[in-house]
Symmetry: C2
Subunit: 395 residues, 2 copies
């Protein structure tokens, strides 16, 4: 039975990934230090509904399905915690089989501070973002170098690494011809937040490790994810993933739906011309599954652009308004001064066929899909706090 280790297993994507693989017969271990939950408490940004601890969720999952998701609570910036996952010294906070010390075949690396605004609140949060993201990645690289070079790493990168270049965005790599000579390089990257810059650095760290130690890594350059429910969350309502609707941790579609429901005008920065690629949380699960099933080769840093379609922010706001109005909500769109420094209008033409080529079948953000999200968020309408939606963190 393949053993999958999920770093950052408590997060918006981590927990659904854990259930997804567990249900499909994989042996799953999740690791988290509750960074995201603690940050939400510290910054007082409420979640849409309370979520049980990781240990509780693993227990519920086991009771309902008979599947075991082992839980390690620990800070992966501590190299000894990271190494314990590969050298047989692991300690579980929850497990059925506490004696299990199997070395992972696959490592899903989600263990990062994931928010651009968080990284720019001030210098302290900037440093936390840098330290957390780079030390976790580096600790993983050295643990693999020292204990398990055969494991396949699937890392969640971000489309934000590329920024908005004036040339077509390829999937990770670009052949460059210059003065009559050629070479192949990582696609040029320049991000518009400090968080996104740490993801560029992650890629550089992983590319170094791949070249030096023949590691096998897949880096998934993901766009903003929307959605709540996955096949597995239907097993029990308490298994739904973390859902933020604030400016710091909430992604844009999730936020807009929440704002529409409470009558908070949709906050569009400037004219809303910024175009990005998006995907449904169900497709994140498909993408990582297909990546795990067809791993990178030794010495390969394989990069896929993990988006299913592109929208401008204004298009998303208009879709939210349209769906909201059909459901009886009076949805306003409000253009506010962009607190970020980014181009109002820009060229954006990313390639994203690699994941389709290995078998992913996209979900699209239709009116029906968005309506389904409205229905779930509505159930928790009374929990929504208007004061946490927008604070205007400036770049």
């Amino acid at each position: 039975m393949q053993h999958i280790l999920i770093l950052g297993g408590d997060g918006y994507l981590g927990w659904p990934t854990a259930m997804y693989f567990s249900r499909r017969g994989y042996n799953v271990t999740v690791v988290d230090n509750y960074f995201r939950r603690n940050a939400c408490t510290e910054l007082d940004v409420g979640m849409l509904y309370p979520v049980p601890t990781l240990q509780e969720r693993a227990k519920i999952w086991h009771e309902k399905t008979g599947h075991e998701i082992k839980v390690v609570i620990g800070d992966l910036t501590d190299p000894e915690i990271m190494r314990s996952l590969f050298n047989g010294r692991v300690k579980y906070q929850w497990a059925v089989d506490h004696a299990f010390t199997g070395i992972p075949d696959t490592v899903m690396h989600y263990a990062e501070q994931p928010s651009a605004p968080y990284s720019l609140i001030n210098y302290k949060y900037a440093n936390i973002t840098i330290s957390n993201n780079l030390l976790v990645t580096n600790n993983l690289m050295f643990a693999l170098r020292d204990y398990n070079r055969d494991a396949h790493v699937v890392h969640i990168g971000t489309m934000g690494e590329y920024g908005t270049p004036n040339i077509d965005i390829e999937e990770g790599w670009l052949e460059i011809e210059h003065k009559g000579r050629k070479d192949r390089f990582l696609f040029p990257r320049q991000a518009s937040s400090l968080y996104h810059t740490t993801k560029i650095m992650d890629t550089d760290l992983m590319w170094f490790a791949v070249r030096m130690w023949n590691l096998k890594i897949t880096d998934l350059m993901q766009g903003p994810v929307y959605g709540i429910e996955t096949g597995e969350s239907e097993v029990d309502d308490r298994l739904k993933t973390i859902f933020n609707y604030d400016e710091i941790f909430g992604t844009v579609v999730n936020r807009f739906i929440t704002q529409a429901i409470v009558g908070y005008p949709l906050t569009v920065y400037g004219q809303g011309g910024q175009t990005r690629g998006y995907l449904n949380i169900k497709d994140t699960l498909q993408c990582v599954e297909k990546s795990v099933e067809t791993p990178a080769r030794p010495g390969e840093l394989r990069i896929f652009n993990q988006i299913m379609e592109t929208f401008s922010v204004m298009e998303l706001a208009e879709l939210t308004r349209k769906v909201g109005r059909k459901l009886g909500y009076e949805v306003q769109i409000k253009s506010i001064e962009n607190p970020r420094k980014e181009a109002e209008e820009h060229y954006y033409n990313p390639a994203y066929h690699g994941l389709l080529d290995i078998g992913v079948i996209p979900h699209y953000l239709t009116e029906e899909v968005m309506q389904g999200m409205f229905r779930v968020v509505e159930e928790y309408k009374d929990n929504i706090r208007n004061d946490v939606i927008f604070k205007g963190i400036k770049w």
Copy 2:
């Protein structure tokens, strides 16, 4: 009087830079936490001769020249220490005028862990390298953002950021044409050590800060530096800069000369085909001076390639043997298995005219120059420990 702040002012380049600007009428403050000295002690890699503390050196400099170099001892990964240099809360360990709180016009940023082998001793040293180099750079960016966006930063990068691409290396930037469209990007970079990778990340951090906050930064992509004496070290023998001759902190020319003198065969990795660009420590001083005199513009990340000529490692070994033999030394060259993972033969054609264009007049590594270095190192022959020269740190 222009105020220059030198971060990493105790180092091989930092201290000579401090004296250089002090003698030329600049108001100079140096900051260091003795990271390099402490690392040399911890790893037991001796220096060629003992060097007084930074406070002692500043006192000697003041006694001999009447010039004041203010000294702050502190760890710049602590953001409060960094910010104190810009917000009037600075505390000097040594100064004539302790009340001075002038905001720097120029910041020389040398405060980095500078060794590739150090960064790959093991995972702990890898993490120290990442944390030190990136947090210092980030703390500097945020201090400038918050207190002084007009300061000009001169950062020492490394030619190692580029690696050995199969295309000509330009000075920092490359216009790329792709599918009929064009954009200008940072030159593609992929380094062959973890240390060098942190310097790529530094450039990314600085480029982010320049775009977001209109900072003015010059990044000097420097090759390995050789030499001991500068115009200012002649003032007093105790003012000579730190000189390492070991594999971890010693640069290749300095090491080879030391090895030649004690009859330790010159350690050439593989066939010694790796070609790099080199410069004399006197030219580092010229380069930073010219960069300071003609600062980058607001919103400009200006990049120069700071090398004066290129050599293969075997060419350097042969030059050392030739000069050594003239001086009566029996110099052997020994090819050893390369402990690093790097190409034995590779294309290497870097541009390096930007610094010449702003007035730098190169010194070259002639037989006479090398003979002068032999004469200085000979004086300390009895201090040289053969056991620290080569330990074979593997990548």
